[in-house]
Symmetry: C2
Amino acid sequence: MKAFDQLDSYAKLQALAKNPIDLSQEEILTAQRVEKMHQRALDYSLFYATERVTAGVMDALFGLAEETDVIKKMAAMQAGEIINCIEGYESEKRAVLHTAMRDQFSQSQKDLRAKDASERAAKELQKLQQFLQQIEKKNQFTDLIQIGIGGSDLGPRALYLALAPFRLPDRHVHYIANVDPDDAVSVLNQVSLKNCLVVVVSKSGTTLETLTNEAMIRKQFIKEGLDPRKHIIAVTSEKSPMDDPEQYLASFYIWDFVGGRYSSTSMAGAVSLAFAIGFSAWIDLLRGAHAMDLHALEPRNLPLTSALLGIWNRNFLGMPAVTIVPYSQGLVRFPAHLQQLDMESNGKRVDRMGRWVTQPTGPIILGEIGTNAQHSFFQLIHQGTDCIPLEFIAFEKSQYGRDIEVQSTTSQEKLLANLFAQSIALATGQKNDNPNRFFPGNRPNRILLGRQLEPYSLGVLLAFYEHKVAFQGFIWNINSFDQEGVQLGKVLASRILDHFAQPRTEKKPQSFPAAQAYLRLLAQFRQM
Amino acid sequence: MKAFDQLDSYAKLQALAKNPIDLSQEEILTAQRVEKMHQRALDYSLFYATERVTAGVMDALFGLAEETDVIKKMAAMQAGEIINCIEGYESEKRAVLHTAMRDQFSQSQKDLRAKDASERAAKELQKLQQFLQQIEKKNQFTDLIQIGIGGSDLGPRALYLALAPFRLPDRHVHYIANVDPDDAVSVLNQVSLKNCLVVVVSKSGTTLETLTNEAMIRKQFIKEGLDPRKHIIAVTSEKSPMDDPEQYLASFYIWDFVGGRYSSTSMAGAVSLAFAIGFSAWIDLLRGAHAMDLHALEPRNLPLTSALLGIWNRNFLGMPAVTIVPYSQGLVRFPAHLQQLDMESNGKRVDRMGRWVTQPTGPIILGEIGTNAQHSFFQLIHQGTDCIPLEFIAFEKSQYGRDIEVQSTTSQEKLLANLFAQSIALATGQKNDNPNRFFPGNRPNRILLGRQLEPYSLGVLLAFYEHKVAFQGFIWNINSFDQEGVQLGKVLASRILDHFAQPRTEKKPQSFPAAQAYLRLLAQFRQM
């Protein structure tokens, strides 16, 4: 397969990028352009009149999608082909089947690997439903603490906050991720353990942060005269060290074909979230994600359009970052999830053949909710020296539906007015004789607008971004599903820990001069 | 005054940047380098052996600081000179005196403007102390809701989370910022209004989001049969529309010489935080900030070193972003505050003489806490196609001091081991025959290490970053204290709101084709 910058479409797009449309020119952002440049599916509209594209650029971008066979690759992924690999080198060599976790509604997959994964997921969902019915009867548990880090934390936590209005009465979830002991202690200070379920999520059953926090919580249960085995649930691989009925109240399984950052719809998210919002609302979320999975197999689908616009900005207009700004309070931590999803998936420098990439891959992702962000870092977005494209997310209706009219408009109307105003202002800019009040404009941005944020539409949105990221990886021809870049730090941390442990173990740690210097300085300061 | 890239030091640094040190070369990151390249003040150490600098580069950077008179400018700022201005153009023309808010301990300022500001701040502190004593006696209020956005939200909220272990029993603070009605509703769902103080923060008394949320809360007080005037406090300018004893239980003043993002140590932060942790702990925080203010007047101070290293990475090594990663759970939202502080201050394209800058100014700022971030976006930081420098923050001790030994080390030791490991791994990288397991290294980073996160050290840290940002602005010769870039969006939002309001007011809104197209599409979808 050709490298990205050897593709015919690459050359074509590069030629188009020499003279891209300038959104700040008068008469560019017309009503006609706005009405033409939008695409709608599954109750979401993608407005992209404020991107620096023309119909010709869009055609060339979809030509790139065809030349790189992205729909075929999406189908291969959903069918369970081994796509998590680097050819010719040692690599994970795994299928990528997060879509199977929610393929529970249409029996769409004929491939045996995908069917097998869906059936396994169905079995865990059934176990979960029964488990929730049992604890419902007991009526003992009001709180649940999930211990997990990375994908076992950011996705579920973001979804939990987005689903707050759908929480069952007296059901609260807390998340502990950090090895900083203050994280666990501050959660322990908020709960009464006798009413607490604890869910420990680790695929391997060996994640250092997670095991350490589990040990801390177990100790606290015992200190309070409670039996941890009656409270703690494992979410792990079958046969991992954590798959042990002696130690856990229950076990739910996850598999190596679902990566951490894609695992929110597996048991890594299901247990805490179905506890919070109830099993049937959880199924609604899966139903939404599945609908988007099917939509992503169609030729011109929403996440593909978004992926292509991102490629245009990144590789042809040369922009290093993307800001994601949901105008929706419920999505307050969704950007943190997307930051992991995108940067961990596509922050790569080797293609699927093990060749160095010669073009930028995944951009920096940052984001906070609007309108808050307008009063924070938008100054730089409007008037800074770098151009940072934006992706807005918003909904027609608020979640709670409670609102107030002030100065003849509701708060929800003010929210949407601000969103449209920002989108237009970033595109058009504004001339001014005072240079400090001059807005250059021509800042590309797009809006994904849904109807209302509830379980189904949240499932659609979650899968939208999963597939946007996957499509970009397919186009760059990189492996979006491994994360070798996190290994070196782990190895070095373990060597430094030997130094800390030495006084207790007498095991002589390896020589490691720079780290020893840090530790020597640390010891000196302690004595000061 | 010369433009930044016309300075003698600029040319010198540019020459040095042609062949910068490569941290991934063997024998570069030695114990000697680590021990030499650190600087200590106010119980913080700044380790910068893992930056791409030599002693020669550091000398040239401090030469740049001298040539741009940064210490003199810092002194002028703290003395109350009018530095928030653009020469020859209409601009705010204000003093910048957040340092006066905490100049309560040493009578260091002789300048009348600064003295006057300190005295005003002292008066408000005294009013606050009396107010807190009164409510202490009443023992009615357990919760406080702060309504404010931007600087009236991010800073105080970040500090509140960082001060959680110091909270008085039964004192909770909630923050409402967003005009999304879901923000206010979800806070209202968590509190009992009869035990609630509400603090509304708006310097002008006219911030749309804030007034709207205040209206919603007032309405709810009345609905519950409570008198809002016995619960709601104003933090605003003297004589603003909100400075009205008929409407508010109390008023505390802020002034136009303290910008929103620099206002945490003014009454914008003081009321909610002193309510939470008590007045004397609040004074400790101010004491820490003041100590850093004095330190920042010394020739080679910590924030200046950090500012210069940032300039080196940004302007001479060409890096577009900075990632700030505190290895401290308490600082979970501190990066969001720093994102505003830095990007809103230095995201500028005009210098103080109204000339277009020809060099990059403020970088993109992103950040989350460690170790969590290691399991999230660090993949891209280690192996992505762009190089993103990092600023780590950490403390020797945890906040709560409760810990557990697992595998012969404590959690706090694991936290610090991971921090040092990341710092070293990013610098040195690692060779590997498998290209997917190759780490290029040479990723610049530095560590700011304190003893423990408590009110005093948090005050030091807050002021450290305020001055780091100010020093960079002084060097670029930009105005770090205005925010003209937020205006255009406000103007356009108000025009779009006229369209929403029209059915209720019959006032004919201005023609605005692109926005009307969005609204038309929105209306169509609603009917679908």
